[in-house]
Structure formats: C-alpha cells, structure tokens
C-alpha cells in the first residue's frame, strides 16, 4: 500500500532493505562522517579558524582601550575620503581594537603584510557585521563582547569593511577601511 495508508505488512520492521537503497545509505553515511572530520581536520591543519577568545566587556571599557591604541600609534589623520579618521599603524603582534558604531568602523588601521595582529571586535550600540572585502571574511560583532582574532594579512592592498548586519537607516553607509602594506613601505 502507499505512503498515505498504514503499512500493509504489520511487521514492516522485518522487511528486507532493497540492495541499491542500502548502498546509498552506506555512501551517505560515509560522506556525512567525512564532512564531520573535515571541520576537525581544518582546526588542526588549516590556517583559517575563527578564534574562540572572547571577553565580556562594556562599551566604555572597550572604547577606552581603542582610544589608547589610537593615541599611541596614530601616524596621520585621514583625508576627507577617509572621514578624517586617524590612520593607526601599530607594531606587528600588537592588540588592535576596531569599533563598530552607527554608522562607522573606527579607526583605520595600517598593517604589514605577513605580520600577525590581535584584532579585537566590538560595537557601541546595535550588532554589526564585519565583512572584509574583497577577502570576503564575515564575522558577527556584538555589543559588550570583545572578540579577539589573530589575523595575518597575506596580501597587500586597500580593504573595505562593509557592515553586513542590518543596523538601521544608515546601514548602507557603514563602510570602513583597512590598509595592508608590504614590509618596508
């Protein structure tokens, strides 16, 4: 009988499974396990894993830390196309704090290719989305959480940070910037 009627065999559990159906089940199971293993394998051997390091913070505390880095390492003030934001060039290995707020990413960092930095992400109001283009790295950014990600830019260039979490009427104007320079430039 069909699928909209009760099974015709009362003891349907004992019916043998069709051979091709069984082969497909085996293939599907193996593929499922391969995909599961792939994520673990990448944690061990891959170079792109999202960090787990996160701290509870407050907006004031986080803003103060960002300000301290900006005060210490600002090399110049941006022009009008850079919203006159501070351009900050911290030494390799340092903690850099990026602030998401309505509707800016502040400040602008200048990093060196091949060097590692500890990028901190948090917001001052709503949630925002850190979307680094044209790399296409996308990370959710929360208020009151300080997310610490070790990044190693592998290519010099001008990068944009698009906000990709809806944050109100000016959402589409929320674009920030990051520069990556070759060593010695």
């Amino acid at each position: 009988m069909s699928a909209i009627l009760p099974p015709s065999e009362r003891m349907w559990w004992n019916q043998p499974i069709d051979k091709l159906e069984f082969i497909w089940i085996a293939i599907a199971l193996v593929w499922s396990l391969v995909m599961f293993a792939m994520m673990i394998w990448w944690h061990i051997y891959g170079n792109q894993n999202l960090a787990n390091e996160t701290y509870k913070t407050t907006k004031e505390m986080y803003a103060a830390k960002a300000q301290a880095v900006v005060d210490q390492y600002t090399v110049r003030t941006g022009d009008d196309t850079e919203k006159q934001f501070p351009i900050v060039k911290p030494p390799a290995g340092s903690d850099i704090y990026l602030i998401g707020r309505l509707w800016d990413w502040w400040p602008i960092y200048e990093l060196e290719q091949g060097k590692t930095y500890k990028l901190h992400l948090s917001t001052m109001d709503y949630m925002h989305g850190f979307s680094l283009q044209p790399q296409n790295i996308n990370i959710q950014v929360h208020p009151n959480y300080d997310h610490v990600i070790k990044i190693t830019p592998n290519q010099a260039g001008t990068y944009s940070i698009v906000c990709n979490e809806y944050c109100g009427i000016g959402h589409h104007t929320m674009v920030g910037r990051m520069y990556v320079k070759k060593g010695g430039e």
Binding site: M1, I17, E21, T81, N136, N154, I169
Partner: protein, 561 residues
C-alpha cells in the same frame, strides 16, 4: 451540531467535517499571508535590483521585515497546521480532538498575524524577521508573534490528541501511515521550536515594555535561532511528508522501505534542532567544539537522513512506474511521468531544487570555518529561497492543486496555467537562488538597501559580476513574484467561482480503514531502482565538488586563528 464524515468521490479520502472546515480556513489564511508576503517580495526585489532601486531605505527595511514574517512564519505555519489536521484526522479517518480548542487556536494565530503586520506597517518595527536585540520593536510586534506561536502550539497538541483518538477508537490498523509519521516528526520539532520562541520572545516583549533593562544580544541569537532555524526544520519534515504523499497520490507509490524512511524521520527528531548553531558560527562567545558538534547535527546525521529521503522518494516513484511497465532503460519511468500534472511537477522540482541548490549550499555554509565566507551575505537568502521557496512552498503549492477539488470541492479554473506554473515559478526561483548565491560568494551583503553605498565616503566598489547577478536576481525574482501572484489568483478564483463539485456521501460515523489481507506467499519482490541510483550519484558528485571548492577558496584567505 454533530460532526459528520464524507468520503470524497474523487480521492476516496474520508473527511471529518470539523477538521475539513479548519483545514480550509488554515489554508486560506496561509494563502492570504503568502499574498502579503509576495507583494512585499516584489518591493524587496525591485529595490535590490541596482538599475531599479524602487523604494526608499526606510520603506525598504519595513517591507523586508514584512516579507520575512509573512513568508517564513505566517504562510508556512498556517499551511503546516492544515497539513497536521490532514495527516491526522483525514489519513487516520477519525474525528478531530477538541474542535473548539482548534478554532480558538486558529483565531489566536490569525489575531497574532494581523497584530504583528499592523506593528510592522506602522513603520516603527522595522527590525527584520529576526528582531535582533538591542534594536527594539513596538511591544505589539512581539506580542503578535507570541499569540501566533501559542495558537500553533495548541494546534500541535490537537494533532497529538487526534492521534490518540484514532488509536483508541481503532479507526486504522497497524502503524500510522508514513505521511502521518512525517507529520508527527514535524509536530515534535514544532513544539521544541515554539517553546524556544516563547523563551526568548516573552522576555523581549517585557524588555520592549520597559520591565527588563537589557537582553544580551548573544543569548538572544542563540535562543532565537532555535525558533528561527528549527522552524525551517519543521518545513523540511512537512514537505518531505508531502513528497511522499504526492508520490502516493499520483503514482500509488509505496515507500521502498518503511523501516528506512521512518528511521530517517527519527534521525530528524533526534538531530535537526541542533541546526540553530548554523547562524552563530561566526559569532564570538561560543566554543569551536560546541559549534562543530551542533552545526553538523551531531555528525551530519540529519543530512544523512535527508540524503536517504532524497533517494527513497524518487525510488518509490521509480518502483511504482516500473511495476506499471515503464521498464525501458534507466529513465523511461521518469520520462513517462505525468509532467503536466502540477502536483507531480511541483513535487519533483521541489525535490531536485531542495537537494541540489538548498541542500548542498546549506551543508557548505554550515561547515564551521566555511561559514566565514558567507555569513550575512546574500548567499544566505539564496540558500533559504532554495529550501523554503523551492522546497517547501512549491511542494505546498503543488499539494494545493490537489486540494482544490478534494478539500474545497471546486473545479480548478485555468487548468492550462496549472500545467506551466510549476516550471515558470519553480525554475525562476532556481535562478533567483543561484544568482543570489553567486552574488553572495562575491561578498554582497544581505538586508542592505544600496550596494553602491550612496553617501559613504569610503564606499566599496563591488565587482561588475556582483551587479550583474543582482540585476538577474531582480529579473528572475520579478518573474517568480508575478507567476506566484497568478497562482494565488488562480486558487482564489477557483475557490470563489469554480464549478461546485459533488460532495460525496455524508456519514454520521467514520468508516474505519481495513487493509487488504497480505498476499499469500509474501509480497512480490519490488523492482530495482537503477535510475534513481544514477541521479543520486550525480547529486553526490556535485555535492563533493562544490564542498571542496569552497575549502580551496577558504584556504586563500588571510590567516586567522
């Protein structure tokens, strides 16, 4: 008024009068929500089409909020409640448990849907379907969703009560039909889903009223997605049940193996809910171990289950067709299928689109690290338009063609349109999903009014291909909206003006279902299904290739640890 039963002369199904009336009202409320959501869809698509850019930013975000809510919550859940009533009272041929309560819950849902829509169109609750804190909507926005959810929850219990009625009044023999089993799976997941929604939305309502000072944004996302994603798993269970139902109705197809199909459903119950993790893979504050275990539905056991259904549904059709003599080669069974029957063509396009476009993309972006490539890009709506529109909505629309004569007792008007509709709507949605995923792969953001960043000094210039794909999204999205709108008109006109059909015999007592005695010497060995196996292997090849291409792409990015 005592409840009565009728046997539909066209399908042989037996309808209980209480349940039948409720199903009709739920289906109509669902289609009305679809109408509102569809009009909103047109607004969304015509704004995101860079050359058109129809709406202003504030209107766009309001329309987008209304689109998400009416489609993902109201249309689908109203229709699913009708499916639950059908799978219990009709398929088990019994009376409905607590019909008065069922009406009460229907009206709760209806009032909730209207209330939330009012809140959205008043313009101060443009917080998107997800209503992430700390962005605040008006209290009646949350209250409407809560009322709707409570109504749906009560209907879930009425479904369970009806199963008890059928069992104790012995209206069927043996086990419940597979389709009812699938509906039961959907119901169990729905209860989990709705409870999660209540756990997060009730405090959020109190916050919006000023009684709670703060809702943690990470807690909100973690719990909210147990509503937001798991409710989509209700859809999966429901539309897979409908695939089996349509295969049974159109071909008389019998499941290849009751054991396999039911076990696959059982895996859904155990593991599907874990998928709310998909949305928080790129969030801080949750450990990788938690992410890996949850995003993979433990060890991809729910994907495994879907891959099984993906083979056993066409496999059951192939067996039924081969028994009818369509035995030539690998694919005669498929070539000779009734491609002009909209119930079948919708179901088949739903199955293929759900697997190839929705399934593969969903698993790819659900891998913990790969998620960083697509989180919050327009790839995500590309994926879920393949699952929810092509998978769920198209299956529901196909079933509706069957329900017009059977449940509503009306002759379908414009049958010529019914023949082409699944292709017109289904294939244009295939294209919408594909080009959205393409634009998302290039990074284009979802929920974004203007990809040219008008007014932003540091504007980013998307590659030309991204503009091309957003333009194509506009073109194919418009075709889908218009053909979907015509479908709504066709159904509404048929219900209002279609020729009334014979009702069938009225009975005061249900006729229990008796099964024919098992054939002596056991059932004949069913034919093998090589055609389905070939299709399944093509699917697997596409899956593996696409999966690893994305790891390759990931490996080219900045180092992150």
């Amino acid at each position: 008024m005592a409840t009565t039963y009728r046997i539909c002369p066209r399908s042989g199904l037996q309808f209980n009068s209480d349940a039948e009336k409720l199903m009709r009202w739920h289906a109509v409320a669902g289609v009305l929500s679809l109408l509102v959501g569809g009009i909103m869809a047109l607004g969304v698509i015509l704004t995101r089409w860079p050359a058109v850019k129809l709406l202003e930013a504030d209107t766009f975000y309001m329309v987008l909020t209304a689109h998400g809510l009416n489609m993902l919550i109201f249309w689908i859940i109203f229709f699913e409640m009708a499916v639950l009533l059908f799978a219990s009272s009709t398929l088990l041929r019994c009376r409905l448990a607590m019909p008065r309560l069922a009406w009460f819950s229907f009206w709760l849902m209806a009032i909730g849907a209207v209330m939330t829509n009012i809140a959205v169109f008043q313009g101060e609750s443009s917080v998107m379907f997800t209503s992430y804190v700390p962005m605040m909507a008006k209290p009646h926005f949350y209250l409407g969703i809560i009322l709707f959810a409570v109504g749906a929850l009560l209907t879930c219990f009425i479904f369970l009560g009806t199963l008890v009625v059928a069992k104790s009044e012995k209206t069927y023999e043996g086990s419940v039909p597979l389709v009812t089993f699938g509906a039961l799976t959907a119901c169990i997941i729905a209860i989990f889903t709705i409870a999660s929604g209540a756990i997060i939305l009730i405090p959020t309502l109190l916050w919006s009223l000023g009684y709670i000072r703060e809702i943690d944004s990470l807690m909100y996302r973690t719990v909210w997605w147990a509503l937001g994603h798991s409710s989509q798993q209700v859809n999966v269970s429901a539309h897979v049940a409908i695939w089996y139902a349509i295969a049974a109705i159109v071909f008389g197809a019998k499941p290849m193996s009751e054991k396999v199909s039911r076990t696959a459903y059982f895996l859904y119950i155990l593991f599907l809910q874990l998928a709310s993790a998909h949305h928080i893979l790129s969030d801080p504050g949750l450990g990788s171990e938690w992410k890996v275990v949850n995003t993979s539905y433990f060890m991809y056991f729910a994907v495994f289950a879907s891959m099984i259904h993906g083979m056993t549904v066409p496999g059951a059709i192939e067996q039924a067709q081969r028994l009818k003599g369509y035995n030539k080669g690998l694919f005669e069974w498929l070539r000779k299928a009734p491609w002009g029957n909209p119930a079948f063509s919708s179901m088949f396009l739903s199955l293929v689109g759900f697997g190839f476009l929705g399934g593969i993309s969903g698993v790819m972006m659900g891998a913990e690290q790969l998620n960083m490539l697509i989180h919050n890009t327009i790839y995500v709506p590309g994926h879920f338009h393949a699952t929810v529109v092509i998978g769920t909505t198209l299956a529901f629309m196909g079933l509706t063609y069957f329900l017009v004569p059977v449940l509503f007792k009306r002759e379908l008007l414009f049958p010529g349109y019914a023949k082409i509709f699944p292709y017109l709507f289904g294939l244009s949605m295939y294209m919408v999903a594909l080009v959205m995923m393409g634009a998302g792969t290039l990074g284009v953001a979802r929920r974004h009014w203007d990809m040219s960043f008008a007014g932003a000094p540091m504007a980013y210039e998307w590659p030309g291909a991204a503009y091309l794909m957003m333009g194509l999204t506009g073109i194919f999205g418009t075709i889908a909206c218009v053909s979907g709108g015509l479908w709504i008109l066709q159904i509404v006109f048929s219900l209002l003006f279609g020729k009334k059909l014979e009702e069938g015999e009225k009975l005061s007592m249900p006729i229990p279902l008796t099964l024919p005695a098992p054939t002596p010497g056991g059932a004949a060995h069913p034919p093998a299904t090589p055609g389905t196996m070939v299709l399944a292997l093509i699917f697997l090849t596409a899956f593996i290739l696409y999966y690893f291409v994305n790891w390759k792409y990931l490996s080219s990015l900045w180092g992150m640890a």
